[in-house]
């Protein structure tokens, strides 16, 4: 009998512990409010010295938590129980979160430093009048390649990826919208296409790329390029910058047919507890010298016009990171296509991956 009771208690205790852990996980960072500020950002996406500087200046204690996907981040905010004061979604996710009513409209009286942001990056279709979001970093999607491993192949056009000399050389990021979008661009279609015939055509064209594909992987791409394991990759500009800082042979190019222009944006989510602290933080991050230091650390392009003059002129004049306005004309920002369309993109992508051999 004793053993039975013990067994029952053990199970009840296990269940109780699991529930407590679950509750703890859900409210991680919930101690926010008062004099703490919980910032929920991508990994490696801020200079840690800046957080220290902010804490020193304001006396606010910053809790910094990271996520690795827009969807995961939104999930945590949507479920509630968290108290994130600041988060940094990509542009299509701003749209999605706005529709789900997860964002708080910004009060620009409290963010005077907004004047430092280049007007070119303001009032974009995903958030008209910047009601909810302020651009944090921006960049492009392109091809990073290592000329020393190739026989003079260059990449003015996406079609160059299909060149027979690149057998088993190209590495793609494991992301449906990027890869299918690339194929759509190479055919001259919009990378926001919702036309199923265009999507089919793009997928069929992708299938003919199979012989040239070495792998479809995630963040490991950066390491592989640095170590000369791969010669060509479809990758975002910031990761290309990471590669180049380690391996000087690598170069990055955005093909002429156009590509994706992306933004990560600071927003205040519905879960905010310390709203004054959040405004202070945003205003702090928009200071020219802070933005410059941050851009230098992270390696992506800053939308902060005043910060540009503080950055290494060689970087700022580099067309690969800061394409001029003419070059930007061919770039397109992702629209939120809705979950149904996202499903279609992913199913086509799955089909492509299964036909890779």
């Amino acid at each position: 009998m004793k053993a039975l009771v013990r067994g029952a208690i053990l199970i009840a205790a296990t269940a109780a512990i699991l529930m407590i852990i679950n509750a703890q996980l859900a409210k991680s960072g919930a101690q926010s409010g008062g004099n703490t500020l919980t910032v929920y950002n991508w990994g490696e996406y801020i200079d840690p010295d800046l957080i220290k500087q902010f804490e020193k200046e304001t006396g606010i204690n910053v809790i910094y938590e990271t996520f690795d996907s827009n969807e995961g981040m939104m999930g945590k905010i949507e479920q509630g129980g968290t108290s994130y004061d600041i988060t940094v979604p990509s542009e299509y996710m701003v749209e999605m979160m706005r529709e789900k009513d997860l964002l708080i409209p910004l009060d620009y009286d409290k963010i005077p430093n907004i004047k430092n942001i280049d007007p070119y990056f303001m009032d974009l279709p995903f958030d008209p009048d910047n009601t909810y979001s302020i651009p944090y970093f921006w960049g492009t999607l392109g091809i990073a390649y290592n000329p020393t491993l190739l026989d003079g192949q260059t990449f003015e056009s996406w079609d160059n990826l299909w060149d027979p000399s690149l057998k088993q050389e190209a590495v793609l990021v494991d992301s449906a919208r990027e890869v299918i979008g690339m194929s759509l661009n190479s055919l001259g279609y919009s990378l926001n296409s919702t036309n199923i015939d265009e999507l089919r055509e793009a997928t069929d064209k992708l299938k003919t790329l199979s012989p040239n594909i070495k792998a479809v992987i995630g963040d490991e791409v950066t390491q592989m390029m640095m170590n000369n394991e791969a010669a060509v990759s479809l990758i975002w500009s910031g990761q290309a910058a990471d590669m180049m800082s380690e391996n000087e042979d690598i170069t990055y190019v955005v093909p002429e047919e156009g590509s994706n222009l992306w933004f990560d944006n600071i927003v205040i989510p519905k879960t905010v507890k310390n709203i004054d602290g959040a405004y202070e933080f945003i205003n702090f991050m928009l200071r020219p010298e802070v933005a410059a230091q941050n851009a230098d650390y992270v390696g992506y392009s800053t939308p902060n016009k005043e910060a540009l003059s503080l950055l290494d002129p060689e970087v700022v004049s580099d067309e690969r990171y800061y394409p001029d306005e003419k070059a930007r004309e061919h770039l397109e920002v992702y629209k939120d296509l809705g979950l149904e369309m996202l499903g279609t993109y992913n199913e086509l992508f799955l089909e492509f991956k299964m036909n890779m051999k």
């Binding site: 199970i11 070495k214 992913n346």
Partner: protein, 286 residues
């Protein structure tokens, strides 16, 4: 505790109420941690993206993409299980012949204490173009090969990971085998091969079957390795489930694939256990 329970069960045979009471901990466990989660998966599988009740997910599963995915998952799981068995059976057999067999067994088990992800990353380094394996190939004169992101690397790494799980049950079965039976078989004129085929193999078949179960079933739903080692050139049902939950946020479709995965597993389990009984019976007749 086991003996306590047995004695108790004997005592309780006449006492139905207490018998029912003794079931409480077990049924509680099964309801909370087995039935409820599976129930939730089945429940979610009947909803579409906007939360309406639907059978579309099941219809969708029978389109070409997912059926092909299922076939390829089974093929790779079969390869992994086959090669694991091929390596594990002789290994387990020779282990039982060794002096310090428990120590050797421990040495084989220890790698399974290391985190799976770490081991996988180690293989990326080992099999890379500039890794030690290629350096060796080059000195031998074969020259650099693309080892990563091939079927070979995928099956190799998976087999490496699963081998301890295959060896354990087979080792136990072999270890329990009464050596007198083998002596008897040799005395009666059977040669080594016949002894193996007619005595050792049938008597250790249960171990082999448990081994197959613990390898084949997880191999069906491997996901991380498919990306890190096979560069997504191999895709399993596990990859598809991960994608449905994390990227597409289509929990309904993800759950539907999971339901089919559970069904496949039940079938495999039934197949292996049903045969087990049959075997034991025919063994007696012989």
């Amino acid at each position: 505790m086991m003996r306590d329970l047995k004695r108790m069960v004997r005592r309780m045979k006449t006492n139905r109420a207490s018998l029912r009471l003794s079931m409480v901990p077990y049924s509680l466990w099964i309801i909370l941690f087995v039935i409820a989660p599976i129930g939730l998966i089945v429940y979610y599988s009947f909803f579409d993206l906007s939360g309406n009740f639907t059978f579309d997910n099941y219809k969708n599963f029978f389109t070409s993409v997912y059926l092909k995915l299922t076939v390829s998952s089974f093929w790779y799981a079969f390869l992994i299980t086959f090669f694991s068995l091929l390596i594990s059976y002789p290994t387990a057999y020779f282990l039982t012949k060794l002096k310090h067999k428990q120590l050797w067994l421990l040495l084989i088990i220890i790698p399974s204490w290391i985190n799976l992800l770490l081991k996988t990353y180690a293989f990326i380094g080992l099999m890379g173009l500039y890794g030690p394996v290629n350096a060796l190939l080059e000195t031998v004169g074969i020259g650099k090969q693309q080892i990563l992101f091939t079927d070979f690397s995928f099956v190799f790494v998976s087999v490496y990971i699963f081998i301890p799980f295959m060896i354990l049950p087979i080792f136990n079965a072999l270890d329990k085998l009464n050596p007198a039976l083998i002596d008897a078989s040799r005395d009666l004129g059977a040669n080594a091969w016949t002894t193996f085929r007619r005595v050792i193999w049938p008597l250790t078949l249960n171990g082999v079957k448990s081994g197959i179960q613990v390898v084949f079933i997880p191999a069906l739903s491997l996901f991380m390795i498919t990306r890190l080692i096979a560069g997504n050139k191999v895709i399993t049902l596990g990859t598809a489930i991960e994608q449905q939950f994390l990227v597409t946020q289509n929990w309904g479709m993800g759950s539907t694939i999971a339901v089919f995965l559970i069904l496949f597993m039940v079938v495999i389990l039934l197949l292996t256990t049903a045969n087990e009984r049959g075997m034991a019976g025919s063994g007696k007749k012989r």
